[in-house]
């Protein structure tokens, strides 16, 4: 029996390559200076979704993303790799959202999609590393969750059961949970397959429905800045106080001198 799969994906500034112009003088993010990418762990989540679709004929994958209109790029990327459809959630009123307001918004959009067996997303996004949105979406929908998932081992739509292997501190565990459920996928899970040429041709002009706050019947007090309990009070750039230090070359004499100095002071044994 086919599964109804929802994948949450985020377009993020590539914080893995932050240059000196990443911040504006006002201390906000200079998004223009950073390439926008598909959040890496959301790609791991998409791969788990595609595997479920491969193993369960008749399944469909709907991708949801919240962001600026440009974020539709991740939806298109998803179609290139095998997702079936995508929805962009975009509205000026959603700006300034923290994780809680974001989760509320995504949960409202998921309710509008309506029919689903499993919701997959990356464990966390690289622009914040908070890992909060997955569990908060689950809470808003009244669902349980499996976080830090390495692999979905089996899923049974009729029995409404899923078995997955997940990372825990210092080890792994295998858990069985009910459907529907929210599953967040770890970066150590299988990497996402590459684009399929046929799908690229088929979808290169794909357009996506754009839902605003009114379309998802969002409460204005729970979205954007108004719906965000957390506030950034202050942001400061980091200036290290230079220590007095010794600069050495890589010459044999310098290296041996350092080793001898450290050994004589019992710094190394």
């Amino acid at each position: 029996m086919g599964l109804k799969i929802i994948v949450l994906a985020k377009q993020v500034p590539d914080t893995r390559n932050v240059g000196p112009d990443a911040m504006t003088p006002e201390g906000t993010v200079n998004r223009a200076a950073l390439p926008a990418v598909f959040n890496p762990e959301d790609l791991n989540a998409l791969e788990q979704a595609l595997r479920l679709k491969d193993a369960n004929p008749g399944s469909t994958i709907t991708m949801l993303t919240m962001g600026l209109p440009k974020a539709a790029e991740v939806l298109k990327e998803g179609l290139y790799r095998g997702a079936d459809e995508g929805v962009l959630i975009t509205d000026r009123a959603l700006g300034g959202a923290d994780t809680l307001a974001t989760s509320y918004t995504l949960a409202q959009a998921i309710k509008k999609v309506g029919d689903y067996d499993i919701i997959l997303c990356g464990r966390q996004a690289i622009d914040g590393d908070t890992a909060q949105v997955g569990p908060q979406v689950a809470e808003k929908l009244g669902l349980t969750q499996i976080t830090y998932t390495e692999e979905i081992i089996s899923i049974d739509k009729e029995a409404k059961k899923i078995v997955a292997k997940r990372h825990i501190d210092g080890g792994v565990e295998t858990v069985e949970g009910p459907l529907p459920i929210v599953v967040t996928v770890n970066g150590s899970a299988a990497p996402c397959r590459t684009r399929n040429v046929k799908l690229v041709w088929k979808n290169k002009n794909a357009e996506f429905p754009a839902w605003g706050a009114a379309d998802i019947e969002a409460d204005p007090m729970q979205i954007g800045k108004a719906g965000s309990p957390t506030n950034v009070k202050a942001v400061k750039s980091i200036v290290f106080k230079a220590k007095e230090n010794k600069t050495l070359t890589s010459s044999d004499a310098d290296i041996e001198g350092l080793i001898v100095e450290l050994m004589e002071s019992n710094t190394i044994g």
Binding site: P135, T144, T147, P229, V235, D254, G269
Partner: protein
């Protein structure tokens, strides 16, 4: 009422170090605020567990002890904490930024509509003014006192952000293992133990996830307690390059760590990552090999005694905090360190 709460994580009936570190920090925050420190423990077979936490200055220990509460699963633990917090109205809640804390914290914050800041590196109490919208929709300056400053590096490490959530309670924060220091306040500290009626807090419908199988191994390394650490970054160049670092570490009886760049490149296990989103270390000697020194990395190692930076970029930020800077490539310098250590240690 309005105490500082710490959710204490358990492996069996042993309280995790990170939770005791947070009790230590929580005690200091509670003193500043003039309130009590309370701990929440949820698990199975917890008789006497309070003895592990009270010496850290915990005034009240809330125990939820029943079958099915260990190993941790999301819903029962969320219900215990959320329903307890509805009664107790804490002003602050601290959790470990562990797999459990990062599974539980967001659910609790969502259920209570409170703010949660992940991976804080400092927590302080302070006063401030902030522009807020009043009922007429106008922005007015409002004064807040004794708020929790949740301080963390953000955005690729280029900035340190101070987060506040003045209008919502509890103010929640997660902190990684090793970031705060664990210090016993008084071995004989006397607190109160409250054993809660679990069924009153956790509906039976919460027990929906079953743990079928579980393997927990002792850590493969002891980065947290290591005296000497050899850490590699992007400048190491490859997984093979790390072999040299392991060889040097073996000679020096050191542990090998890594920056996020090296972990992301797949050259080394992620559990060896040092920094804000990895392990925080305080070794006597830290040898940074080809690490440029993003602030998240530095957040995890800046308290090292002596820092030696090997880098062919003289402007690498890490050189700013280094005691010794070796201008050269990792490939060239590390074998020489091994060679001359061997020569001189005979």
């Amino acid at each position: 009422m309005n105490s500082v709460f710490v959710y204490c994580e358990l492996e069996g009936n042993k309280v995790a170090d990170v939770s005791l570190e947070l009790c230590t920090k929580g005690r200091k925050l509670a003193n500043t605020l003039g309130v009590q420190l309370e701990a929440v423990l949820v698990g199975t077979g917890l008789d006497g567990v309070e003895k592990q936490v009270m010496p850290y200055g915990v005034d009240k220990v809330h125990v939820f002890d029943a079958e099915g509460l260990f190993p941790y699963t999301s819903l029962p633990h969320t219900s215990a904490v959320v329903n307890l917090f509805k009664e107790e109205q804490p002003q602050i809640c601290l959790l470990g930024a562990t797999v459990i804390g990062r599974d539980l914290g967001p659910r609790v914050s969502s259920a209570l509509h409170s703010g949660l800041t992940a991976d804080c590196t400092q927590l302080e109490i302070g006063d401030f003014d902030m522009k807020v919208k009043n009922e007429a929709g106008e922005f007015v300056e409002k004064h807040y006192e004794q708020q929790l400053y949740q301080i963390r590096p953000a955005f690729g490490g280029s900035i340190i952000a101070t987060i506040v959530n003045p209008e919502h309670r509890p103010q929640m924060a997660t902190v990684r293992d090793g970031v705060m220091k664990k210090e016993i306040l008084d071995e004989n500290y006397k607190g109160e133990v409250i054993k809660h009626d679990v069924a009153k807090y956790i509906p039976t419908t919460d027990y929906v996830v079953k743990v079928l199988d579980r393997h927990v191994e002792a850590a493969k390394h002891n980065l947290k307690g290591a005296q000497i650490i050899v850490a590699g970054g992007y400048g190491v160049g490859s997984a093979e390059g790390f072999n040299q670092l392991f060889e040097l570490a073996k000679e020096l009886h050191a542990e090998v760590g890594a920056s996020r760049a090296a972990v992301d490149a797949g050259w080394i296990d992620h559990d060896r990552q040092i920094g804000q989103t990895g392990v925080t270390v305080r070794p006597k000697v830290y040898i940074a090999c080809g690490i440029s020194g993003a602030i998240q990395h530095i957040a995890g190692m800046k308290d090292a005694g002596i820092i030696i930076s090997i880098n062919n970029d003289p402007n690498a930020p890490i050189n700013q905090i280094a005691d010794y800077i070796i201008n050269g490539t990792v490939e060239e310098v590390v074998p020489k360190l091994i060679k001359y250590y061997k020569k001189n240690s005979k």
